[in-house]
């Protein structure tokens, strides 16, 4: 059993500020973290490793300093890590990203056949949720997205049964290995790294694959060249043209009453809608 986990190093979006005049991202001091959604993918792979002794390989495409994220994954218990880094990979949109990731997974598969690829459901910087599906299509493997639970995994029969979040319910699917699985958040809790893991990660020299080592001969699908979508404009969100009206009052209750008086005077339809809504709900007491 061999599992490949795809992770991305991202800026912590909670700490990003936009320069008010120049409209550019102020990156100074913004820490780089492992995309939080990817940690659920890593933990799920490690849980399978705990049960079956599976081999877990973590890969990431990014600049040379993204090896920090990979070393962190090793400290949690991943067996191997590979950083895909090459100037030809830079400036990629999701289509070009999956070209490189799928190429590298094929190369890994040639050395140690891969059974499952895990990814997070999306990244916090791009929020596209497209890379998992893209990898599956390029590899020609089954795609299982928004997976909330692995019900069963039969490595001998090469069968897997999962639960996935669908619109309006949970879909239970039975599929076949090899497959690509994107995992929903909150399905497990990331373990802590132990001392041995931390020491191992510190000593580990993360292999860097460029397009040659990754076995990607044709660079037409990678980087800017392989990206049909281009950012043509960047701007700060338009602020809503209101400023909150502070509601006066000596006590919390007085403030609350004053709010309702003012709010329903300004928006008489809102009170009507609320009463209608309660009527429909049948909560009339």
């Amino acid at each position: 059993m061999h599992i490949v986990v795809c992770v991305k190093q991202v800026p912590d979006s909670a700490q990003i500020r936009v320069h008010p005049v120049t409209n550019t991202i102020m990156r100074q001091g913004v820490p780089a973290i492992i995309n939080p959604f990817d940690l659920f993918a890593l933990e799920e792979a490690l849980l399978i490793k705990d049960r079956t002794g599976a081999r877990v390989t973590v890969i990431s495409m990014g600049p040379p300093y993204a090896d920090v994220a990979l070393r962190k994954c090793l400290s949690f218990g991943a067996d191997e890590a590979i950083l895909l880094t090459d100037v030809a990979f830079a400036g990629a949109d999701t289509l070009a990203t999956t070209y490189v990731l799928a190429g590298a997974i094929r190369q890994i598969d040639r050395q140690h056949p891969v059974d499952i690829v895990f990814t997070g459901k999306q990244t916090i910087d791009g929020d596209t949720a497209q890379v998992g599906p893209g990898i599956a299509i390029r590899l020609g493997w089954q795609l299982l997205t928004y997976v909330s639970r692995l019900r069963s995994l039969d490595t001998a029969a090469r069968r897997i049964t999962i639960e996935r979040r669908a619109e309006g319910g949970v879909q239970v699917l039975e599929s076949r290995l090899p497959c690509v699985i994107t995992l929903l958040e909150g399905i497990n809790e990331m373990r802590f790294a132990d001392m041995a893991g931390m020491f191992r990660a510190a000593r580990y020299d993360v292999p860097r694959w460029d397009h040659t080592t990754a076995g990607i001969d044709d660079l037409g699908g990678a980087g800017i060249k392989g990206s049909p979508t281009v950012v043509a404009q960047v701007f700060a969100p338009t602020p809503k043209a209101v400023t909150a009206l502070p509601i006066p009052g000596d006590t919390p209750r007085a403030k609350a009453e004053a709010l309702l008086d003012r709010m329903f005077a300004d928006h008489p339809k809102l009170e009507e809608s609320l009463l209608d809504h309660l009527q429909t709900l049948g909560t009339a007491r």
């Binding site: 049909p228 909150a244 609350a256």
Partner: protein, 369 residues
């Protein structure tokens, strides 16, 4: 900060110098994927038909709905609905293999429709089904896809789709173009575009096309479907009244005060990302860039500072009330009213105030039991 932002000018759109590949030159028309699951159409489909109508008119082309599904009149009726909401025609692919949504046959079906009928724009809802399908279809066709757009427009000079989307957790907006390949694919979140009017006097044609895939060729099988109605999942996206809490509530127990207020108003309870990450409430309640987009009539935000990440998911609310002990919190820049003080004191007061107000209004209406 808001003044400075107001003053910031929007830079001009700079398109790269790339030519449309010759094989795509004849691609014409705007398509909207009509998403349905177990007999329920996702309303985002009609929201997109509304937006698609506007884009198709600008391009002076037809707007088509695309319906894939199992055999039967119910699926076929979705074509009429697409037309009633604004489409000129509908592409219909019916096959028992398409009865339940599965990635492999839906990707095959959609890609085959695109190859055959060659649209220039293809829009899908940014739902679990829409995102699963869009990413797969775009990779199969090797075309560009822009996810989670909040604004769409057409540059009529060269027929390009201008897709606006938030990036970096909503801190910045960007406009994305695809100059070289077609169709220009995009996903749009539910509740971002307004619902168009339905007119059942409209009529349009239906073009049928076969899937060409047998069940034996489909690897993944549906074993079961557990509907949410049994699981009591929050229906945040469509709620008209929402009370939401953040880390400013100080402790998870204070979320109970929010639930009390929500019961009084028949409201749904939402949360900011930090509150979800702290495990105070379940992830389904998260509002914002990596959670749900909501458009309620009233949104009460308690102990939420108003990070852009949260704001992009809720600023479409008609009326926003901020309950916060920090009168300088960013949320004050986009709320209508502010209750300054300790949320743990203000929330119960608000619950009481609403309770007596509602009781009084009912008494006035003639004392409903």
């Amino acid at each position: 900060m808001s003044d400075a932002r107001d003053g910031a000018r929007k830079p001009a759109i700079k398109k790269p110098k790339r030519a449309l590949e010759a094989r795509f030159v004849g691609y014409r028309g705007v398509w909207v994927f009509v998403e349905h699951e177990r007999g329920h159409v996702h309303p985002v489909s009609w929201e997109l038909i509304g937006k698609g109508r506007e884009l198709a008119d600008k391009l002076q082309v037809e707007l088509a709905g695309v319906v894939l599904g199992g055999n039967g009149a119910a699926v076929r009726a979705l074509c009429d609905e697409a037309v009633f909401h604004g489409a000129d025609l509908c592409y219909l692919m019916q096959d028992e293999v398409l009865l339940d949504y599965r990635n492999q046959p839906y990707t095959k079906g959609m890609a085959s429709l695109v190859d055959t009928f060659q649209p220039e724009v293809l829009m899908l809802g940014a739902t679990t089904q829409g995102r699963d399908l869009a990413g797969s279809v775009a990779t199969t066709l090797l075309t560009g896809l822009t996810a989670d757009c909040t604004g769409l427009d057409i540059d009529t000079s060269d027929r390009t789709l201008l897709s606006v989307r938030p990036t970096f957790g909503g801190s910045l907006m960007c406009t994305i173009v695809n100059m070289s390949t077609r169709p220009q694919m995009t996903t749009v979140r539910p509740r971002v575009m307004p619902m168009p009017a339905r007119d059942d006097a409209r009529s349009g044609r239906v073009i049928e096309h076969p899937l060409g895939l047998s069940e034996a060729e489909v690897v993944t099988k549906v074993v079961d479907f557990i509907p949410d109605a049994q699981a009591d999942k929050p229906q945040l996206a469509f709620a008209d009244f929402i009370v939401a809490g953040g880390r400013g509530l100080a402790k998870p127990e204070n979320f109970e005060l929010l639930f009390d207020l929500a019961r009084e108003l028949g409201a749904e309870v939402g949360a900011s990302r930090p509150a979800v990450h702290a495990n105070w409430v379940e992830a389904d309640r998260q509002v914002g860039q990596s959670g749900k987009t909501v458009r309620p009539k009233l949104y009460i935000a308690a102990g939420i500072s108003g990070a852009v990440q949260h704001r992009v998911g809720m600023e479409g609310a008609d009326v926003i009330v901020a309950v916060n002990n920090d009168e300088k919190a960013p949320i004050m820049d986009f709320s209508n009213y502010a209750l300054i003080g300790n949320a743990a004191d203000l929330l119960p007061a608000l619950t009481e105030a609403f309770r007596s107000r509602i009781a009084a209004a009912r008494a006035k209406k003639g004392g409903a039991a």
